[in-house]
Symmetry: C2
Subunit: 168 residues, 2 copies
Amino acid sequence: MAYSIYDASVPVMSRALGNLSNILDKAVAQATAEKRSLSELIEAKLAPDMRPFPFQIQSASDAAKGCAARLAGIDAPSMPDTETTFPELKQRIAKTLDFLNTVTPAQLAGAEARQSALKFPNGEFKFTGQDFLTGFALPNFFFHVTTAYAILRHKGIALGKMDFLGAA
Amino acid sequence: MAYSIYDASVPVMSRALGNLSNILDKAVAQATAEKRSLSELIEAKLAPDMRPFPFQIQSASDAAKGCAARLAGIDAPSMPDTETTFPELKQRIAKTLDFLNTVTPAQLAGAEARQSALKFPNGEFKFTGQDFLTGFALPNFFFHVTTAYAILRHKGIALGKMDFLGAA
């Protein structure tokens, strides 16, 4: 089997989201053991003008489901950004994974060459699926997953690179 | 042209490294304008037990050149981690980009199925090129690029998502 745009997208994001869910478990376990407030973690950010922790998870979810849907030419399920607790954030990740699991390699066949448009406040950009994935979707996805990790690390949660990468 | 493992690796990392170099320029420009010490940024980290800023750049460089070399079945140029200043870190990125620019799509043809081994302190793991790229190299690369961005953001450097993603 040749390498496909499915290989480069859906399983990569599914794996990272699964790891992220485990990272949330670790944060809750440690904070609970140390009798720390979970809302301290939920409200945490790295800079005063940065959006707080749930935004990073919601953005990673949006990046993943939006990417899979756009490449497949289907609509992503709407997920209003209402999560404010760790169980809700874990549920958001689980729902995202459920959707990713429904997207098949066949749906993404040829997506690298298909054109689609992305609307930004300052205009509309046309991409091929390939440019969308590699120039936008994948970097954007990892940006938010890593920032979520970095926020927890900054708040003293004991995490290491292998939590981010997952078991080999 | 079908999507290839080259498309999913070398240009993705080249683009992100180019953006990272521009981010370093922004950090130096702002710190200089504010008469702040650059060594404060060089020594910055998000947690006491995290390695400081140059390590993130060096690790992003290692991830990129190591990935391209492994997929091409060639040796990556050795770059001792001696950088301690912004000009040296920019030079490290430039040398990494120079190497990535020598790696051709033809060298990576079929790399998705080629086996290679990665040595860790706790053992040796065998990967196909595809598993190596998507399960390890790409997440690891973005982990360090994002952490570098997050450290500067945490230190008050005015950066936004578009600095990370680059111009569309």
